[in-house]
Every structure is written in C-alpha cells, then in structure tokens.
Amino acid sequence: MKLKSHLLPEFIVERIESRCNKCGVCVKQCPWEVYRWNEDGTDIIIDYTKCVGCQRCVVYCPNKALIVKPYEGSYRPNAYWTKEVIMDIKKQAEQGGVILTGTGNDKPYKVYFDHIVLNASQVTNPSIDPLREPMELRTFIGRKPDHLEVEFDEGDYIIKTEIPPNLVIETPIMFAGMSYGAISYNAFLALAMAAKEFGTLFCTGEGGLPKDMREEYGSCAIVQCASGRFGVDPEYLNCAAAIEIKIGQGAKPGIGGHLPGEKVTEKISETRMIPEGTDALSPAPHHDIYSIEDLAMLIYALKEATNYEKPVFVKIAAVHNVAAIASGIVRAGADAVVIDGFRGGTGASPKIIRDHVGIPIELAIASVDQRLREEGIRHKCSIIASGGIRNSADVVKAIALGADAVYIGTAALIAMGCTMCQKCYTGKCAWGICTQDPELSKRLNPKIAAKRLVNLLRGWSLEIKEMLGGMGINAIESLRGNREHLRGIGLEEWELRVLGIKGAGE
C-alpha cells in the first residue's frame, strides 16, 4: 500500500526567464526528471519536487539562467525538532525502512581541524623558501625495523638488516578506497590514472580491480580485502602494491559495505563475482575474524599469498577505544593502520549510523600515535588518516598530529565533479561518478577527470610545501608527530590534552 507522501520539497529551481533561450540542455542533463518539454516543444516545465540539488543543470546551462537552492518553505522554526528530523520521521512512516544516504557525516559536530593553527618560523629560525630550495614530500608507508646494522665493506657502507616491504609515494596523499560499483568504471579509472601519473597510490575499495586494469595500474593499487571478499583472487593480490584488510569505515562503523542492486550491472557482476541485480552487502564482520588473533591469522595468510612482498594494511573506523585497537592491529602484524574518521564518505550508508557513530579523525590520530609511542611500537606501522580531509592544511595538521599520510575520498570526487547531493545510493549521479548507468557514466571522461585529480594533488602538494617552508622544515618526516608546530584555539583542557597540543599563545 503506497502512502501519500507528506514530505516537503528539498530544493527549488528558479529560472531567469530573460536569460533562458529554451536550448533544452537542462532536460538532457537532469537524471531526476525535473525538466521536461511541454507538448508542443515550446517551453520547459520544471518539477522542482524531484530536484536533489546536484547543480548539474546550473553548471551546464549555457546562459547561466538557472538557480537551484534549498527550498525555503519550512515548518515553524524549532531548534530541537528541526526540519530534517521531522522529514526523516515522515519518510520512515511512509516506507518503514532504514533511511539511506551517501557521502559523509554532515552534522555540525566540532571540527577540530578548524580549531588548530599552524606555526611559522621567524627570527630565531628561518623559514625555508619552497620555490627555490628543495622541499621533500617523499613518504614511505610500511613497517620499519628497530634499527639498522651497518657493515663497512670494500670502501662502502652496506646495510645488513632486512627491511620489510615499503611503498614509496611522492606526496603524502593517496586516494581512499572507493569501489568500482559504488563509483563508475570511468571514475575508478580516472583515480588509477591520476595516481600513476602523480606517483601516488589509489585504493580499490571492496569492489575488486577489473582485469583489464591490472597490468597497467596494479603497481599503484592498494587492493582491498573486505568482509565480502569481492573480487579477491590470487592475481588480484599479487598484481597490487599493497593489500588493505577492511574491517570498518568511518561512514558506517560496525556495519559492512552496501551496494544496492540497482548498481550491480554486468561488469560489476563480473568483477565482484555475484549475480547481476543482487545487493552486494558485505557482512558486518569478517566471518573469520572474531578476535584479534584471527586478524593476525588473516594478515599472515595474505602475506603468504603474496610471498611477503607486499605490505598489509588494516583499515578501521575511528571509534571510542581506537588507540587500543590500533595497538592490537600493529602487534598482529599489520604494516599500516588506516583510521577512517566519522566524516568519511560512502556510496550508501544508513543515515542514522553515518551521523551518530564514530569519532573525529583528529582525536583518533592523536591518541593512536601517542599510544603506539608509549608502547614503543610506533615505527612498526604507518598511520594513514582518512575521513574528511578537505584541503592541504588538514593534511599538514593530520601529519603533525601523527599520521604518515592521508587518504582523500570525498575531495577527489569533488575534484572530478561531485557536488555532495548525497544521492549516491540511487545510482543516478548526474556527474557520471556514482552511477553504473552507461549514459550517465559516459559524462565523465576518465582522461579529463584524471587531469583534474592530478591538478588537485599538484595544488595541494605545492601548498604543503609552502606551509612546511614556513615552519622551517624541508622534509615531511620532520613534521610527522611534531605537535610543537600546532596550537589550539577555542579548545577545552581535555581536548588539548587528547590532541597533545598547547593552546595558542602558550
């Protein structure tokens, strides 16, 4: 029984009639059927109730005649029963299910990055000029030995200690796991191309790595082994640069990945090895990991399967006792711990979990880094921070708090065209990113999207160099965990303590 919807529209569309020349681009571009021609083809009728605010029509209208904005009409203002809260209740009353959403937590929790400021050197220490003097961002991800034994042999020093496998990236920014399935083939390929061109890595997410991409892009891929083990075959593992065991993600800690059936097309079906049209639901736990020693077992299974040549990462969501969990993961043999904060994005997640579960990445990184140092094991793994890295300042702050590198997901998608309309789970992404619809995915040209991504990495890397130079540092390793270069503003005592930083002015 279909119930009448009581929902208010979310967006409203205004058209500046004097600028509109009825070219019909909006009709062609909108996948939500907001625009349609009238019967005699003389006018375009707008049904704004269907609008999701993706701004595709606004950007593509050649005359810039359209304005899409949140629907101003609303209930009586109520700071507690907000419009969103009311609408969610009504939606559930109509459908009786779990409300889904896409992208990351959009609620106004405190953003710690915006309460941390950076240092610059003056007088007592020179800042270093990043344009003219060398400024080094090269980063190694993996396990480091406790120390090196060196032998003098025939006029040269040689290293006797065996060093575990490490990855080399030219900038401390990598692309986070976004599965082929959640995103289109073109978007996925664009990430691979950009990673290869810039000298960094991309993570495949739990959708596997299509066979036709393995030869060229395997060496810059971190392949994910998630609870659903989609697409995990020996060649997949061995063609990659590293393997990431996904235990959880920031957007939905405690539950598994979710690819709605609408998005499981033939190609997805082939890569993930599940029937077309079924929902690809990853189980909540790995069913062979019910305790920490099982994780150790899986880590070493993967190392065996790849002849101990590749680092194994473990990705967890940032939750309450993340420091203890991370410590356990390192002792279980992982070479890197990926921590996904609660701002992490997703293609599909229950809204209630996305918005209420997990902790901010800044606090998680600080406490994991501190705990690992207290236990004397910080060098045994790299820490990768993920979940809401929005700009190069966030990268610098994350590294100063203790991360070795960061993953960017949402920022990469925005670079390719995403406007955060949060409808990824419908598969109707107007920008060709989060869709499997061939007509829509055609809109994203992988080469051009890759160029945008490379530009983003380049712009951020230059900015990072400027900030490092300002701090009097010319190599990224001298920033790692260097809390002296951070100060807090508007933070309470306990927050400063957890972050391990002083207040501004101190």
């Binding site: 050197s121 480091k144 390793e477 790692r480 260097n482």
Partner: protein, 365 residues
Amino acid sequence: MIRDDKEFSACGLFGVMDRSGRRFNGEMAIRALKNMSVRGNGLGAGFAVYGLYKDFKEYYCLHVMIQNKDLDVKKKVDGFLAKNFDVVYDEEIPVNENSKTVDPPMFWRYFVHPKSHGENISDDDYVIKNVMYINTKIKDAYVISSGKNMGVFKGVGFPEDIADFFMIEEYKGYIWIAHTRFPTNTPGWWGGAHPFCILDWTVVHNGEISSYGTNKRYLEMFGYYCTLKTDTEVMAYIFDLLMRRQRLPIEVVAKILAPPMWDQIDLMDEKKRRFYTALRMVYSPLLVNGPWTVIVAHHGEMFGLTDRIRLRPITAGEKGDLLFLSSEESAIRAVCPDLDRVWTPHGGEPVVGRLSSGALKRVVR
C-alpha cells in the same frame, strides 16, 4: 618565572682537541668565546672538559645542579644515589663566590659506581636510567653531566663569568667544547645553558631544531626524556642512541641527521641509492630539520656537523695535533693565529677528530 616551553639557541660554538691526548687548560676555550661575544648576550655559557678527573677516571662522575641551593633536595639526591650506586667520593664543585654570576644554584659532584643490580642492562644504560629518574622525579635536581673522567660546567652569565665562577682555568683536559648563548626566553634557568650531556656525550648547538617534536617523541620510545626545556637536549640523546647503543659510526650517523636530498639520491649508483633510501626510510624521525651546527664530543672523538642545507656556519682548523671547530674563523685565529689548514665542510658532512688508540687507552679504563 621560568616558562615551560622550548628555548631557542642563537649562539657561538667552539671546540678544540689535542689528538695526541695531551691535556691543556681552558685558556683557549675562554679566549675563543670572548672573541665571539656578540654571538651571546650573557644569558648562558658553558664548558665541557674531557680528561680532568685523572684520579677517578674509572668512576662515573655525576655533576648535579640543585636549584635554590635547597638542602632538602640534596638530601633526596644523596639518598637516591646511595641506594642505587656506590658513592666513592663526593664534594661540592668548588666555585668562586666573588664572580659576577647572579643567584647561582648549588653544584655537587659524585663519583659513583653502579651497585650490582639484578637488571639485565649495561652499566651505561643503568646510569642513564637513574639520571632520567633524577631529572624527571626529583624536583629541582638535574644531572648535567654523567660520564667518566669528564665534566660539564655551565650556567647563566657571559663565558668569562662562568669560567670565573667554576674556576675553569684550574682544570686540564684533552678536549674542550664551549658555548656562548643568546636565548630568546626569560633568563634564570641554569639548566638551559649548553653543553647538554648524557654519559660522556656532550653537545653544543647553534640554531633551532624545527623537528624537535618529532625527534623527542621518537626518543621517548627508547627511554630518553627531555626535561631541560631546550631543543638541543635531543641531540645528545640521538648520539647516545645511534653511536653507543646501535654502534653506528659517525659517518653513517651524520647521514641520518642530515641526509642528502632525494633528487641527489635518485642520481646515485644502485648501491648508494639503496643505502641512503634505507637510512632515510628507517630513521626518518631522526632527521634533524631546521638550521643547526653542533659540536659533539665523547672520549676519543670530537665532531662538527651542520644541517643538510648548511644554514649555520662552521669553520674547522688544524695545527699539528690540535683540531679546532668554531662558529667563526676569527675565534680560532684568536687562539692560534697560524694554522696549517682552514676549511668549511658541506652541509651534512662531519669533521672528525680522533685520538690515536694508544692515547685513548690512557684516558679511559
């Protein structure tokens, strides 16, 4: 009021070593520092001397600074040392009460030997552990040097005043390193002057370590705690960790603290490339960033080293057995106008002075 944050070091450095092991008095060190007086501002100076306690050379000599001349603190120190060491001899370090220094703390020296302990660590590590305890747990007491047959004398004042206070001219050593300071924080903290010392490693430093937070937190994993509120402290611990505990030679350690740039490593031959890549990868938290020149000494060796893009100066000079290191050439010329050789190394390249092995045996047991 002593503020609990990092002091910055703008300064003048000097080091001199007689490579035959011959001992000499402090006149050269004092005169060289005087020549560089504009590099300091009278708020800190210090000297380290090697070979001065011939009669007690097989015992660890702990120079302990007691703030405010507080006798209760001294009692705590005495008690702690008696419990953990055989204290062979101890006395107040003789000072000149009429010197120009203001409000000096009390300085006491103890010649000790570790008590037999059930722990499975070397005597050196045992001493470090106990030194760290005193520095972190006994308020107002600080161990400012802890090596055998060497000692550090330092405090707040111009070099000639500190030399006068401790009556430095009376001592004789075969290595002297000295420092004059220009701190940018409030005066009064005697512990912040250089040299910094752990066991027989002493460091004097000119510059600022912008990677201090990173270096400090890595060292904490190995039991070294920074309590003297000055970034130079990490240098002393880094040398103890890499050279004494991990037995790496200075030529390798220099490349850990001041490694070559990646764009140069990428052009090296395979063997060298692998070596430097491994070093940088494993020891990245010990890359010391920021402008710095250090002069480091321990029994048998003195070295000078600068940061990888040589933002601070250093000059080396040689005359016969004497090796000089200084921030400015003129300081060396002031004590030895006629030199056989004068040079300045590239950034990250150490200048090394070593005792012949026969001479080394005579100096330490």
